[in-house]
């Protein structure tokens, strides 16, 4: 047939039809035909990373900051195994990613060929779905299904493994709209989804005396309209709202109803309100153990409403009274409709008492820290970064550890999709490549990776990528020469024995930046901090800002593992009772 094209051409044509603008990848033997086809076209841009792990985090950063699907292209064997961490990360945090891996030719599969591995076997538990495509004629339909699955329902990573002979073979291309995906392979909420549950939920909220909204990353995945509707509904009710790490930005930090983040390092008032509320409205969150603390003491007197697109999250760890399965924007839109239709009004007197109580908790000022002396406190560094960037369109990414929690506590987010952090998997090394992805998606925005000195070294090779593509990403290192969160746990739970948590022989980050032809800056004292931040923002190049912060600062407030929401530790002087400390020690 005349209109037959090669498998590699089908790959590129499918990507183009799916609206893909950029692919993050690294070439190798088993994907050479695809790279050859890539060379001959101009519509899809390729960003060459320096290790495949960087490619998938970059795709995640791109996806989460733009709302589009991130695309990764890597070779077989080590190329595929290097993306496993990122696939798991995307799975845990529900990020839509399509990962294309090369595979040895079909006739060599199973022979322990060079750079062969069982990619679909290895990635089965860390993808939403994966494919090994042995027939070139199925390639286009697999691609169109893969993109749909990655974006549909609860988003996630999908992997397509393509043997090299299939990339060379000729076959026919089928267009997106010709592909019929059977409904059982997708999540389709029924149009009149559980109307009675919505009525029940809205009525419960209307009768509440101490309500609280508990907002998660699902609201962000549901799109910007979801955040708008959630804000609208909370405003109508006048209820306090708290957000998970993944949900920051759904409701603005400056919103009068916002209590900020909840959970292990969340706000005292948010956790206390969760503990004492009478109606909890969970929208797009999953009762993660970082959020709930000890389960038998979790919000003991509340009726719980849980809106989630993934039914397996319902009653997984916490039993709820009113589960609603569906997409946040559709469910909340219906809830607002019902509220207005039935002319519900909340008991304002009770609500005022509730707010009075919350305002009392706020007076504790749980984020208070001792900011004396010339040494820079990490909290202060983040506060200054916020003050000096708040009027610019800014995306913040983080690595994992103390700096991540300080960023979540002290950087104020007013909009969704501006905050990119590895929540579920907790992947050190996520932030820098994610920042690269975000910058590719938003070339003119300010993108800052708030990092730690240990985390940044996990993907430091991507400096080369950032400089090559003139991506003016800013790396803001809170440098305390420790794996700070490990050190904090060792101090609190292991008698201060800092086993292997000191990072000796750190590079000189300024010289490191310069060696990549980027810009290196350093602040050692509070006097230098603002100048360094300003210079960092104004530099039109990749920057590493090495901020020397106090070495043994701890991240507070904290719910130690094994404790409950109302047992928050506000400072080091406050000790956890011994029994729950012993119990908590075995937890992560």
């Amino acid at each position: 047939m005349n209109n037959e094209i090669t498998g590699a051409e089908i790959v590129l044509k499918s990507l183009a039809e799916q609206g893909v603008e950029v692919v993050f990848g690294y070439p190798g033997g088993a994907v050479l035909p695809i790279y050859d086809t890539l060379f001959k076209q101009n519509s899809i841009k390729h960003v060459l990373v320096r290790q495949e792990g960087g490619a998938i985090h970059a795709a995640e950063g791109y996806a989460r900051s733009t709302g589009k699907t991130g695309v990764v292209l890597v070779t077989s064997g080590p190329g595929a195994t290097n993306v496993v961490t990122g696939l798991t990360d995307a799975m845990m945090d529900s990020v839509p990613v399509v990962c294309i891996t090369g595979q040895v030719p079909t006739h060599l599969i199973g022979s322990d060929a060079f750079q062969e591995c069982d990619t679909t076997g290895i990635t089965r538990p860390c993808t939403k779905h994966n494919y090994l495509v042995k027939d070139v004629n199925k390639l286009s339909s697999v691609f169109h299904e893969a993109f749909t699955i990655a974006q549909n329902g609860r988003p996630g990573p999908v992997l397509i493994d393509i043997p090299k002979d299939v990339q060379f073979a000729k076959g026919s291309y089928e267009e997106k709209n010709k592909i019929i995906i059977p409904s059982h392979r997708l999540f389709e909420p029924s149009p009149d989804f559980e109307k009675s549950k919505i009525d029940e939920a809205v009525e419960l909220i209307a009768k509440a005396k101490k309500p609280i909204f508990y907002i998660g990353g699902g609201c962000i995945n549901s799109g910007p309209k979801a955040s708008k509707l959630v804000r609208e509904f909370i405003n109508i009710v006048g209820s306090p709202v708290t957000m998970t790490l993944m949900g920051l930005g759904v409701v603005g930090s400056s919103d009068k109803n916002s209590l900020g983040m909840l959970g292990m390092h969340g706000m005292y008032e948010a956790n206390m309100a969760m503990h004492e509320c009478d109606v909890m409205i969970n929208i797009g969150a999953r009762f993660d153990d970082r959020v709930t603390g000890r389960l038998d003491a979790f919000s003991p007197n509340s009726k719980k409403i849980h809106i989630d697109i993934d039914e397996s999250n319902i009653n997984k760890t916490i039993n709820v009274d009113v589960p609603i399965i569906g997409d946040v924007k559709q469910v909340v839109e219906k809830m607002i409709e019902v509220w207005k239709e039935k002319k519900f009004k909340i008991d304002n007197e009770a609500l005022k008492l509730w707010w009075d109580k919350i305002n009392k908790w706020k007076e504790i000022d749980c984020l208070n820290y001792n900011n004396e002396g010339k040494q820079i406190k990490p909290q202060y560094a983040v506060q200054r970064l916020y003050e000096l960037t708040k009027n610019t369109k800014t995306f913040i990414t983080t690595e994992v550890g103390q700096h991540q929690m300080w960023a979540a506590q002290f950087y104020k987010f007013e909009e969704p999709n501006r905050w990119l952090t590895s929540g579920g998997l907790g992947t050190m090394g996520y932030g820098f490549p994610a920042a690269i992805g975000a910058q590719v998606g938003h070339p003119n925005a300010l993108v800052v990776d708030i990092a730690g000195d240990a985390s940044i070294l996990m993907n430091i090779q991507e400096m080369s990528t950032a400089v090559q593509y003139r991506l003016p990403v800013k790396i803001f290192i809170l440098n305390n020469e420790y794996m700070g969160m490990v050190r904090q746990w060792q101090e609190l739970l292991h008698g201060g024995r800092y086993s292997e948590s000191y990072t000796d022989s750190l590079p000189d980050f300024v010289k490191l930046a310069e060696s990549y032809k980027a810009v290196g800056l350093r602040a050692k004292t509070t006097d230098e901090l603002d100048d360094v931040i300003t210079q960092m923002i104004e530099t039109k190049n990749t920057v590493i800002a090495d901020i020397w912060v106090t070495k043994e600062e701890n991240c507070f407030p904290m719910i130690q593992s094994g404790s409950a929401h109302n047992e928050m530790m506000l400072s080091k002087d406050q000790k956890q009772d011994k029994k729950s400390a012993e119990k908590g020690k075995i937890l992560v």
Binding site: P125, K128, P182, R185, L295, F298, S312, I314, T317
Partner: protein, 180 residues
């Protein structure tokens, strides 16, 4: 309550045997997805049986016997439904009425002293001798698992045996609207 890093607060319901019927697309890797979900999340498989049941639609039917509290089993059902090629999951114990059966093949070591007893027992349980070219005594018994269990226990008391069992398959016996 299911697993969590914390002790479960609610009263836990009793652990029970459940039979799940899972209809899946018959595509490569689908069984690995199902089994991997069980092992990855720490659930139990007591037995598992899979075969294609409709040629035209390319659908396989997996019968899984598992045990757990009703909370755990309900979580298993939801996790199964997340797997892309899974069409449907039904818990036959919850549907109320179902019929189940399994097949066992038993190689019986036979001698002049036990021959009579063996044949009597097989006769009693309606186990059928399978003719084979080596003329060894291989019996087939089909039926409810308890009956097979009893037979195996009793034959074990008489002589040495080698056993293979299919594990139960089951089907809902609830009356459906039959077309045609």
């Amino acid at each position: 309550m299911n697993k969590s890093v914390y002790d479960s607060p609610d009263q836990v319901s009793e652990t029970k045997r459940h039979i799940l019927t899972v209809l899946v697309d018959n595509e490569p890797g689908v069984l690995a997805r199902v089994i991997g979900m069980f092992s990855g999340r720490g659930y139990n498989i007591d037995s598992l049986n899979v075969a294609e049941v409709s040629n035209d639609e390319n659908i396989s039917r997996i019968t899984i016997v598992t045990h757990g509290t009703s909370e755990v089993v309900s979580q298993i059902e939801k996790q199964l439904l997340r797997i892309v090629p899974v069409h449907s999951v039904s818990n036959l114990d919850e549907e109320g009425s179902s019929v189940e059966a399994e097949v066992a093949l038993i190689y019986i070591y036979i001698s002049d002293t036990n021959k009579k007893k063996v044949y009597q027992l097989c006769d009693f349980y309606r186990a059928r001798k399978i003719e084979n070219e080596n003329n060894t005594t291989i019996f087939e018994i089909a039926g409810a698992s308890e009956r097979v269990n009893r037979f195996i226990k009793e034959i074990n008391e008489i002589t040495k045996v080698e056993i293979v069992r299919s594990g139960p398959v089951a089907i809902s016996s609830i009356k459906k609207n039959e077309e045609e």
